[in-house]
């Protein structure tokens, strides 16, 4: 008995929904062997702006959730990723041409990293903050807080691991995210969005755009409601202009990653997307 397959339509992920690009544009995505896989949405300036609006609207709720709560929600994503591992292994193989063993290893690592970051939600503030022994009768404490909306260029060479490795650290502290997926390998990012959509992550916390990084990134770099620009995967395009554009609104800029672009897990990735707030309070016995 033959089953005629039902191909998936890959769209954007904005505000918890899966809209097509408002521009109506798509681009062809091919496998490593050059076989047509799907048409991916070619996101426009309007899509990028919609994504920022969604991310901003979601910020207060996500940042205001307890670390314990964010930790459980992020952990749940790892559970769902585990459940869909076969799908991701197949997608990664199609997209990048690696062996089953290599693709399995990438999914394993993506799950492991996600759990590693999920565990930080109620710990990073303890490690990155501290009491300050000022010379006077004051209670004084410094704590890290999320920056706000973070726009991210995902690593280009990787279909899943790169994406996971840049989204997770931004989410730990309570940032919301607009991420531009790998231009070459965007399909797993949208499959990952299906996990996000069916998990307990509030809508708008993660927004995923597919398309041309060099077209979309300047809109995000110049957007006044984006607080930080993570250019980890932007080494392939003219990122210097993005940093120059970002200076107009004094965005925090993480320059392109060195080496493999695999965005090695580190506490520094979490703290780089936080602000330190210092609170003084007078002390008095009366």
């Amino acid at each position: 008995m033959n089953h005629l397959s039902v191909p998936k339509t890959y769209k954007l992920f904005i505000g918890g929904a899966f809209p097509r690009s408002e521009s109506g544009r798509v681009y062809r995505v091919h496998s490593a062997r050059g076989i047509f896989l799907a048409n991916a949405a070619l996101a426009s300036r309007k899509d990028a702006r919609d994504a920022v609006v969604s991310a901003r609207a979601a910020f207060a709720g996500w940042a205001g959730a307890t670390g314990y709560n964010r930790g459980q929600i992020l952990y749940r994503i790892a559970e769902l990723l585990e459940g869909r591992r076969a799908q991701f292994v197949a997608e990664i193989q199609d997209a990048t041409g690696v062996t089953t063993v290599e693709a399995s290893a990438e999914v394993d690592e993506a799950i492991n990293r996600w759990i590693w970051y999920a565990g930080w939600t109620d710990k990073y503030a303890q490690v990155a903050g501290n009491a300050n022994p000022v010379a006077g009768p004051y209670f004084n404490i410094s704590v890290p807080e999320p920056m706000g909306v973070v726009a991210i260029a995902a690593p280009q060479r990787s279909a899943l691991l790169g994406l996971v490795s840049v989204i997770a650290p931004a989410l730990v502290s309570g940032n919301t995210v607009v991420v531009v997926a790998s231009e070459m390998h965007p399909l797993s990012a949208i499959s990952f969005a299906e996990i996000l959509a069916t998990s307990d992550v509030p809508k708008g916390v993660v927004n995923i755009l597919t398309g041309s990084l060099s077209e979309i990134a300047p809109w995000l770099a110049g957007h006044a409601d984006v607080n930080a620009l993570d250019l980890t995967g932007a080494g392939v395009i003219d990122w210097v202009d993005l940093e120059i554009t970002a200076a107009q609104t004094l965005k925090r800029v993480l320059r392109p990653d060195s080496g493999t672009g695999s965005a090695v897990p580190a506490l520094g990735r979490i703290t780089a997307l936080t602000e330190t707030k210092t609170v003084w309070h007078s002390k008095s016995l009366s």
Partner: protein, 495 residues
């Protein structure tokens, strides 16, 4: 004669001996600058104090080369505890010469001697003393074992707290093993040059700290120098933007401490005696020329009239005049340019319909002065509620609910500081959580300490100065293999 009239009590200028001209401090020695020298004046009297050199691009290259040489051959190789000992020496010398430095600061900047003597200079010594102890404890900075210094730091500081800003920049840079080229503000170079003499007395190895003087172009050329690894700037948001553009695409690390428009929120259950003093300190300390000044007063509506009345009667007791007089509360503004900007913005406030009240005081006939001023009936859209005035001008807005106070406080592109006045602890903590500002003072204002991180959110800049967090601006984790790459290194290679 009222109880407010005091006999003049000027601090003696005898312990300050100024040279008729000052050169650049490069490689441990004063050398002539290549550019045209400029005069530095007392903003209180407009008298000529001394002549200051202008550094050219060649001078900057010499200074950066001296810093590089000192980094490579001496400072980065020295045992960490010895770096600390030099900083302790500096702290002690600042304490020994503190009165001289305070007099120089008040003369050159215009701030009251009681502020330079009791706040600025003691904090300078404290900053060096505190960071001295960090030099051999960097494994505990939070970046893992054996964090590395960056190299040559270019540091550009403003005129509002000249020597204190120098200390905020130089102390952590040296403690972490970097060498420095520092440019003080054009109008307030004097104490930096006296500090250079202190470095000579401390026998700091030549080139570890170089001080070059000049105007904005000198600073821009320093930032642009290709052998600079780190740029630290305190000043206006506009210049901060241009520096961020300048270093884009390089491997230079950058921290910026820029402008602010802080909300000082007074709830109706505030301890009003303290709050009035805190509001006054928040906006009139240093003539309001403070980036973290509490320039937007948000008062709960039901106590608005009482607060304004008490503020006005308190302000009427402030004495404006000779910065060197120990009774003076309000000194001179730093420059004519500053006076003109404040005057212009105050006129805008009136034109936009806010009600102006200024303290009645005798304004000296020479120098740059502005009477303490309060605007009431200010709207959130008014320019005096949105733009940094950087002067003794307080804009008063009202609110009814806590949520409204938070929304108004955060309604600014800046995010440097904020104040909260309330006796209800749970509300103070919840409001502090909700404010998007780097420093929140609750039932106090304008407190500074070398152990306490300072720096902004949003367009108030990035990075922190002070405390453990302040070390991160001058260090990189030892496992970090060039996380910040140049354009040339990344272009063309697919990741």
């Amino acid at each position: 004669m009222t109880f407010l009239d005091y006999a003049a009590a000027p601090e003696s200028r005898a312990l300050l001996t100024l040279r008729s001209e000052y050169g650049l401090f490069i490689n441990g020695e004063f050398v002539a600058g290549g550019g045209a020298p400029f005069a530095t004046i007392s903003p209180a009297t407009e008298e000529h104090l001394t002549s200051i050199a202008t550094a050219t691009e060649e001078d900057i290259a010499t200074a950066v080369a001296a810093a590089r040489r000192a980094y490579d051959t001496v400072w980065s190789r020295m045992p960490a505890r010895d770096r600390g000992k030099y900083l302790y020496r500096i702290a002690r010398l600042v304490q020994e010469r503190s009165r001289e430095l305070a007099v120089a600061e008040s003369l050159d900047n215009g701030k009251p001697i009681k502020e330079s003597r009791d706040v600025d200079i003691p904090l300078v010594a404290a900053w060096f003393f505190s960071y001295a102890g960090w030099a051999d404890k960097l494994d505990y900075a939070g970046l893992g074992a054996n964090p590395r210094s960056l190299g040559v730091a270019a540091q550009i500081i403003p005129w509002n707290f000249p020597l204190l800003m120098l200390a905020w920049k130089i102390a952590p840079a040296l403690a972490t093993g970097n060498t420095v080229v520092l440019k003080p503000a054009e109008t307030t170079s004097l104490t930096a040059l006296l500090f250079a003499e202190i470095l000579q007395q401390a026998e700091l190895p030549p080139g570890v700290v170089n001080i070059i003087t000049g105007a904005g172009a000198t600073g821009a050329a320093l930032v642009a120098h290709e052998d600079v690894d780190k740029v630290a700037f305190t000043g206006s948001t506009e210049v901060g933007r241009s520096i961020a553009r300048q270093v884009a695409g390089t491997s230079k690390r950058l921290t910026l401490e820029l402008g602010g428009k802080a909300a000082n929120i007074v709830f109706d259950d505030a301890p009003l005696d303290e709050a009035i003093e805190g509001i006054v300190n928040g906006i009139f300390f240093n003539q309001g020329q403070v980036c973290c000044a509490g320039s937007r007063l948000l008062v709960q509506e039901n106590i608005h009239d009482e607060v304004i009345e008490r503020l006005q009667s308190r302000l009427a007791t402030l004495r404006l005049g000779d910065p060197l007089d120990k009774n003076t509360d309000i000194g001179a503004l730093n420059s004519r340019e500053q006076l003109e900007r404040i005057t212009e913005l105050a006129a805008v406030g009136e034109a936009e319909g806010a009600q102006r009240w200024s303290s009645v005081c005798d304004i000296p006939t020479t120098g740059f002065w502005f009477a303490p001023t309060i605007f009431t009936g200010v709207h959130t859209s008014s320019r005096i509620a949105r733009e940094e005035i950087f002067g003794p001008v307080l804009s008063v807005l009202t609110f009814r609910t806590t949520a409204e106070a938070i929304a108004k406080a955060n309604n600014t592109p800046y995010g440097l500081s904020a104040g909260i006045w309330s006796e209800k602890g749970s509300r103070v903590l919840a409001v502090a959580d909700a404010l998007r500002a780097g420093v929140v003072w609750a039932n106090t204002f304008n407190r500074f300490d070398p152990t306490s991180p300072f720096g902004g959110y949003k367009e108030s800049g990035y990075g922190r100065e002070g405390g453990r967090h302040g070390l991160a601006a001058y260090l990189t984790a030892s496992g970090d293999n060039a996380p910040l790459r140049t354009a040339a290194e990344t272009q063309g290679g697919v990741q």
